[in-house]
């Protein structure tokens, strides 16, 4: 009987829990860019998705640190794993239960849209965003447009007010 040996890679490249300071995000991002000499396009996409989703945690996590009583820095978790043919990037942060429902609906809408519809959504959303502190509000759309894979999300209720919202994006190497 032939024995097939299947090599399945599942390597954790990065794991972090704490405040998402821009200085940290930048250093992690730089490391992602320099992971290896191969999968150049995948790493470019991974970097962009990494920045977007990490900054979502930094900007919107309901668990946050105040810097000098002025600047709010979101606290959360991130995990980057490498598999044979893809990377998996996950962020997790605290959200209000009411926002978790909105976010889940938003993920469903994005997952149900093809690339043409996503591009249209992105344009509409950016044009209609009030800007200023709200940004463009297109980070999740951008992540799916870049990866061409669906968003995987999970909601774990902490109590009557808050939940943990985790988001995973798969980035194919080829």
């Amino acid at each position: 009987m032939l024995e097939t040996i299947v090599s399945i890679m599942n390597k954790t490249l990065l794991s972090y829990r704490g405040p998402f300071y821009i200085e940290l995000i930048s250093v992690f991002g730089s490391n992602i860019r320099n992971l290896s000499d191969v999968y150049i396009n995948a790493r470019k996409k991974l970097f962009k998705i990494f920045i977007e989703l990490s900054q979502n945690v930094s900007n919107y996590s309901e668990n946050f640190h105040m810097v000098n009583n002025v600047q709010r820095i979101g606290v959360g978790e991130l995990y980057l794993k490498e598999h044979d043919t893809f990377y998996l990037f996950t962020t997790k942060n605290q959200v209000k239960n009411s926002d978790a429902k909105i976010l889940a609906e938003r993920c469903e809408l994005i997952n149900a849209s093809n690339q043409i519809k996503l591009r249209q959504l992105k344009r509409e959303q950016r044009l209609n965003s009030p800007g200023e502190k709200f940004g463009a509000r297109i980070g999740l759309i951008q992540a799916v447009m870049l990866s061409k894979n669906e968003l995987e999300y999970n909601v774990e209720e902490i109590n009557d007010s808050f939940s943990h919202f985790s988001l995973t994006v798969k980035i194919d190497k080829y």
Binding site: I22, N41, K44, K48, I138
Partner: protein
């Protein structure tokens, strides 16, 4: 009005380098843009361009050489393009050039989206 000159730094790579020159109307943004409080960073640039189009009223050339910009920064760039489109519609002499890496096709799509959303023509220039 004065020139705006912001140097890039290896310790803060999330801020772009900025050179807005009032004497020749050439405005350049280069490097990367994914800072916190994006609007706070871009507001002086947006106001400079607004004032230039109202007070100086000469030719304005915007050269964007950003390798990466996050989605919050894209909103601010869109604000700038909308001001320039308005200036052009009122007879202003304005050109927008976007320098891109040919190995980054996603950036070409991004520029196309900017053109559609702002109505402003953008010339794509490949970086050699």
């Amino acid at each position: 009005m004065e020139n705006i000159t912001l140097q890039s730094s290896q310790t803060t790579p999330y801020f772009p380098e900025v050179n807005f020159n009032i004497s020749n109307g050439i405005c350049e943004i280069s490097g990367e843009s994914y800072m916190e409080e994006t609007y706070k960073f871009y507001l002086p640039l947006i106001n400079w361009i607004k004032n230039y189009t109202k007070e100086v009223k000469k030719k304005l050339e915007l050269n964007i050489k950003l390798i990466y910009l996050n989605t919050s920064s894209t909103k601010c760039i869109l604000d700038i393009l909308e001001i320039l489109k308005d200036y052009k519609d009122k007879g202003g002499n304005v050109a927008v050039n976007w320098y891109y890496d040919k190995d980054d096709p996603d950036m070409i799509d991004e520029v196309e989206d900017f053109e559609v959303e702002s109505g402003m023509k953008i010339d794509l220039i490949e970086i050699k």
